[in-house]
Symmetry: C2
Subunit: 284 residues, 2 copies
């Protein structure tokens, strides 16, 4: 297949020049969520440098003959330093390659894409950013949970659950986040969920507030655990939740009873009106 | 072109059954940001119902012979009621059509997709959600502004700038948002920017904090206005900013000096190190 060979799409698929780097978001996992630009880049790249969160099915769409390198970072395992990854991108580009830096989700949402791009700028390497669907939105959609719903919230906050040292980010004002944002969507937070929940509850979030943990979203191994804030950490442990996982805290989780379209494909009966009694019971 | 006719992609492009509705996010505008699933739906749908924020170039990718209906909602103009749009989707599905409900950005981010899906559930119409790239992420990427950057923020909040009555949402705790979220990304907020900025400044956000307003992001008419919080509303008016527009408030805006890749394509010289002096000067 050659997307750019098709008349209708050709104007929207820019030339991938030798010696340049495209920083591309691969989305949460499902290859169907790739953008046309991302697929075009896979079809054109000479060298692909991907991280651990990029689905193997997506890497499998690379042009035959392209070199494929893993430069992933996952908590707890030895992994290349960010500086080394950026240097590698620069080296490949200086060799005249079309370099595709493929990152899970969106490159600019907790993805260190900004750092990598600034390293390219410093080295004088031309680049393009291709945004992707972030797991906190697209992954939740596959669990039937909307980040926003008009009657529930007009704001939603995305938080990374650990900082660069792998601990709960102390620089965050959790009390204000608890008060200001009716829906919190946490990335990479399962390990620190107990500590985070404790802070949110101390700041006034009800322990009975609904929580969902979506593991390996949009893949065949997707699992969704519904729980409540006060029990979320224990439930995650008891259910041996695997990472990557997204945690969503807030009343939008209730809408899953109606919106779990993927469950419905497997036979689940959807309920259009999420249980109002429970909603009152847990209201903050 | 027929994506599903290609062996490599076919397993990832599910059948679009007659009598069902796909609620699909079309992304911020650039057709290259469409997902493979969205393009597949455009190639298969019998009836397309789109809103005003869907780029005409994307609607133009519809299968010849598909019926195309506009069911947009834009502030200040007469527009169909949400109830009528949902009823129309149900009617088309009951006629046995493959119905593509195409929404700008992501259907579950300030898009009323949850309401439409629940109406389908109530009517017993099967559906699928196809997430899209939301303008607050993908649109900003085309302005060279990352929603997150490791040294600046570990949280980012998305807010809609008006509620269903078209006024600044009073239900929001702006003081907590101002304190808790280092970066705020506002949708549909230009009209109320003065009032919002006033509340944020009253809660302690510095009037000199950088702000960018990205109008018609990812389209040929994209414009980016860089300003500061205390002057943002006046600047938007003086520059006759057109909607749709995304407003981003926070120090990530400074990174645009290095990350404006689209500007670089047009000749702008990028600076890898955003001015540190200014960063200190405006720190909150």
């Amino acid at each position: 297949m050659d997307l750019a060979g098709e008349n209708a799409l050709a104007p929207y698929l820019p030339d991938f020049g030798p010696g340049s780097v495209w920083l591309v978001g691969a989305g949460p996992g499902d290859p169907g969520l790739l953008s046309l630009l991302a697929l075009h880049a896979l079809q054109r790249a000479d060298a692909i440098v991907h991280d651990a969160l990029v689905d193997p099915r997506i890497v499998g769409l690379a042009r035959p003959g392209a070199s494929v390198e893993y430069a992933g970072k996952r908590g707890g395992r030895p992994s290349p330093k960010q500086r080394d990854i950026s240097a590698r991108l620069v080296d490949l580009a200086k060799e005249g390659k079309r370099v595709l830096r493929l990152k899970g989700g969106d490159p600019f949402v907790f993805g260190r894409g900004a750092e990598e791009a600034l390293a390219l700028v410093a080295a004088g390497v031309p680049f393009r950013i291709v945004p992707g669907i972030t797991a906190g939105i697209g992954g939740l959609a596959y669990a039937g949970i909307p980040p926003t719903s008009r009657d529930i919230n007009t704001a939603v906050t995305f938080v990374t659950g650990h900082n660069s040292e792998g601990v709960v980010p102390d620089g965050l004002d959790w009390e204000s986040l608890a008060k200001g944002s009716p829906v919190l969507i946490l990335y990479m937070a399962v390990k620190h969920l107990g500590g985070i929940a404790k802070r949110l509850i101390a700041a006034g979030r009800p322990p009975g507030q609904p929580v969902a943990i979506v593991s390996k979203a949009t893949t065949a191994e997707q699992r969704v655990l519904e729980t409540v804030l006060g029990e979320a950490a224990a439930a995650a442990e008891a259910n041996a939740i695997e990472t990557p996982a997204i945690v969503v805290i807030g009343d939008v989780v209730r809408l899953r009873a109606g919106l779990d379209w993927l469950g419905a494909l497997a036979g689940r009966v959807l309920v259009a009106e999420p249980i109002p009694g429970k909603q009152r019971q847990h209201a903050s």
